[in-house]
Amino acid sequence: MASTIAAAPVRSAGPSLRVRLYATLGVSGLISLVVIVIIASAAAFAPWVAPYDPQTTDLTSVFASPSPSHPLGTDALGRDLLSRLIWGGRTTFIGPLLVIIVSTIIGSALGITSAWVGGHVDNVIARFLDVMFALPGIVFALVAVAIYGAGLTAAVIGLSISYIPYVARVVRGAALRERKLPYVAACSVQGFSALRICVRHLLPNLRTIITAQAVASLGFAVVELAGISFLGLGVQPPTPDWGVSVATGLQAALQGYPAEALYAGTLIVVVVVAFNVLGDRLAATAESAKR
């Protein structure tokens, strides 16, 4: 007769969300997250948050100083700077987000395939990635601009391609370690296909590493995309964008009004630092969970 095991009480709920967030992110990570959430939601709810339309010009108040009606002042065409920065956050966030989503999906697929199949396929993929590493993202962006014309789409496509090798390299390394774990053998023994094992079993176990990598790269993507817009190849004026604001603000700065360039530049730095800190914290947690 089989012995039975008495039902042990099971803890119904885990620790609260707040506790878990603190455990994974720490103080610096939490602050970064809050900063990002505030800026991102301001951009997302721009129509309700921004006091003015970002495109409306008012030639009667050009280069206005901060005042109750224009908290950050106005630019060369009398447009409200605060409103432009809030609206500009949209492209500044959406562009890099698209870049990261596309490059993470393709890069993860390449990395896992490389690690799983191994041998010649692994070699070919590795050499191909080496070639991609050699070229800076801006080059891909320039090629994409040449094909699709200057704009956010071209910049996003170019940057997405240039980010693939970074993701692929990290994922391949992690997948190589993961696939040697016994549970993967246990899956093979049950007759699962390679695709099923990779997608349903490997991928969920790699998600912390992939997320950490994605968040950290998000910061770089923000800088690079802003840089491309600054050069006039990305978002086109008069559409508000922080990169564009730095560029137009530079003109104004030469006339003695550095406010716009300063504000936009500061915002970019803040967002990038926040993303990097967040990514670092996530990577550290993923690393310590492995041990």
Partner: protein
């Protein structure tokens, strides 16, 4: 009727520097519903033998010989055939259940995934079957267990889940690779009882790998003893216990603690085990064998058959019946 027939199985693993032979001409067979124990010291190749039967080999491994399962040779199977064979014909239970379950998938996923995706069973049906299986391995509150994760279960409980999962596909052969080594002794007894009962209920053949001679004898119809990648002796478990044919088996039996005597020191087999690739030309056990003759070091013994038993020893015939099986008065 023979279910599995392993014939002259050799496994070599090649790395950059050298090729190492892990399994050396292993032959054995398992009948339908029979339980065969595979005993040996660590590193003698018993786990690799089981893995070879599953086609679960490390990179650089080269398998030779025949593994005929229900008429088809596993060594020569294509990938899809091998997958079908793994999914429906054999199942494997591992030593460390925690390492062999995906930590991020629930017990329910673990038990139903193979049924749903490979067996094409509906999810609700698979869940009900999973609960029934859990019940049969002594876990009554299956419904609740399905939503739990591996880290919430104890080792013994998780090993029961593994057994349930192994039986889910109604296999004809169950490979158990030291299923109780990682468990404490009381849990070990429970798990073995469940394994033995289910094996008989489901009429599954069992290849039971262990380094515990007693456990093998208690569970298995026949026991095979492995040394340095070879099977040195196969016999009915009871006969192996009473009348071992190979000096190595006798040595293993003598090194057990006994209830009747309280020895200050247990007998040991002198020297240390060698791997198949380190063995000399002669009998691999010869350097440690108390009965070794010059010819034992020169030529490799062939398998000799003594009614229903097989042994690979030059002196098996003359030593038959005279090998000790337990406590021997200390010679020195």
């Amino acid at each position: 009727m023979t279910l599995l027939d392993v014939h002259d199985l050799c496994l070599e693993i090649r790395n950059r520097v050298r090729t190492r032979r892990i399994i050396d001409h292993v032959s054995f067979s398992v009948a339908k519903g029979e339980a065969l124990g595979l005993v040996g010291e660590s590193g003698c190749g018993k786990s690799m033998t089981a893995r070879s039967l599953m086609g679960l080999l490390p990179p650089g491994a080269k398998l030779e010989g025949e593994v005929v399962f229900e008429g088809s040779d596993i060594v020569r199977m294509s990938q899809p055939e091998l997958r079908a064979y793994r999914a429906t014909k054999v199942a494997m239970i591992f030593q460390d259940p925690r390492a062999h379950t995906n930590p991020v998938r629930s017990i329910g996923d673990f038990l139903t995934e193979a049924q749903c995706e490979v067996g094409g069973v509906k999810r609700s049906v698979a869940r009900r079957r999973a609960i029934a299986l859990l019940d049969s391995v002594g876990i009554p509150d299956g419904e609740r267990r399905l939503s739990q994760y591996p880290h919430q279960l104890s080792g013994g409980l998780l090993q029961r889940v593994m057994i349930a999962s192994a039986l889910a596909s109604d296999p004809a052969l169950l490979l158990a690779d030291e299923p109780t080594t990682a468990l404490d002794v009381t849990t070990q007894a429970e798990v073995m009882a469940i394994l033995g009962r289910l094996r008989r209920e489901h009429e599954v053949a069992l290849l039971f790998i262990t380094h515990n001679l007693e456990l093998a004898a208690a569970t298995c119809d026949r026991t095979a003893v492995m040394y340095a990648g070879r099977i040195v002796e196969v016999q009915k478990s009871s006969a192996l216990h009473d009348r071992p044919l190979h000096p190595y088996t006798s040595g293993l039996l003598c090194s057990r603690p006994s209830i009747e005597h309280t020895e200050r020191r247990l007998m040991v087999i002198p020297g240390r085990p060698v791997a198949a690739y380190d063995a000399d030309d002669g009998c691999a056990f010869a350097p440690r064998c108390a009965y070794a003759e010059p010819r034992c070091r020169m030529e490799r013994p062939r398998d000799e058959t003594f009614d229903k038993a097989a042994v690979a020893c030059h002196r098996a015939a003359e030593l038959q019946g005279s090998l000790p099986t337990g406590y021997v008065e200390a010679v020195s």
